[in-house]
Amino acid sequence: VVRLILPLLGGALIGISATLLLLLHGRVAGISGIVGAALTPDTFPSERRWRFQFLVGLIGAGALLSFAMPASFASSPGTSLLRVGVAGLLVGYGTRLGSGCTSGHGVCGMSRLSTRSIVATGTFIVSGAVTVFLMKQLGGYS
């Protein structure tokens, strides 16, 4: 039961975080957009500041939680650094080109019933599933 309740509870916390960002500041809690725009040179300083503040909270909490709940953190199942490097490049470029990731499209956009986000979420789940299937055929996760 815990295996079912914790994901729902964690999801609800993500929903609460997204709600606070919208209610207080009118902004969308899309992680790839927040990081990507923070790294974009022509982003206005005031637009950059809140993004860094959000990331301080996100990564700072990660630091505290990695001590408090170390069992919840595991490394990537890809054993080769080359593979995780390629994965990171694809995730970084793909989320910027596609204007969002699991949080922006999958949570915030789906909550708004945005057609773009529903298409994006369906697309990355299908392409991810195909990738995992092919990797398994190649013995990639063993």
């Binding site: 993500i14 207080l24 790294l39 990331l55 909490a61 939680l65 990537s76 995730v91 970084g92 991810g128």
Partner: protein, 143 residues
């Protein structure tokens, strides 16, 4: 107070990801593994988040403006275009390969795990390449 609120909102987001099990990439790969032992964790996370935010979004948007800002800054684009589909497809391939999307990868950064560091470094590099060399010249300008 406004600055602190962003820090707190980011921290709540991180807590949600960790409680939900998203900082364990095995749950992502298990969710995407339709041919093996399907792991419903990610599905439940999205259900929990969309249930809460799907309702709260509608309540918040009855307001004419946010509490601490003059207007709502929501994505304005409505059309499904090639960038959206190609970008999302590329993201999905990386997601399946690495088991990380951007949020959990950043939250896991302080573990200083070499694979996490490599993933995040590559992700930030690709985002900077996107920012410095906008794909407009070979994909056509947006709008």
């Amino acid at each position: 107070v406004s600055g602190i609120s962003y820090v707190v909102i980011g921290a709540i987001f991180a807590l949600g990801l960790v409680v939900a099990g998203m900082t364990n990439p095995a749950h992502i790969v298990g969710f995407l593994d339709f041919s093996g032992d399907f792991d419903p964790t990610l599905l439940l996370v999205m259900v929990g988040a969309v249930l809460v935010h799907g309702v709260s979004y509608r309540v918040v948007m009855r307001r004419s403006s946010p509490l601490w800002a003059t207007k709502f800054s929501l994505p304005a684009m409505a059309a499904v275009d090639g960038r959206l589909v190609v970008g999302s497809a590329l993201f999905g391939v990386g997601w399946g390969l690495g088991g990380y999307c951007p949020g959990p990868a950043l939250v896991s950064l302080p573990t200083l795990d070499i694979e996490t560091l490599t993933f995040v470094g590559a992700m930030l590099l690709a985002m900077m390449v996107f920012a410095l060399f906008p794909p407009d010249r070979f994909l056509g300008s947006r709008r």
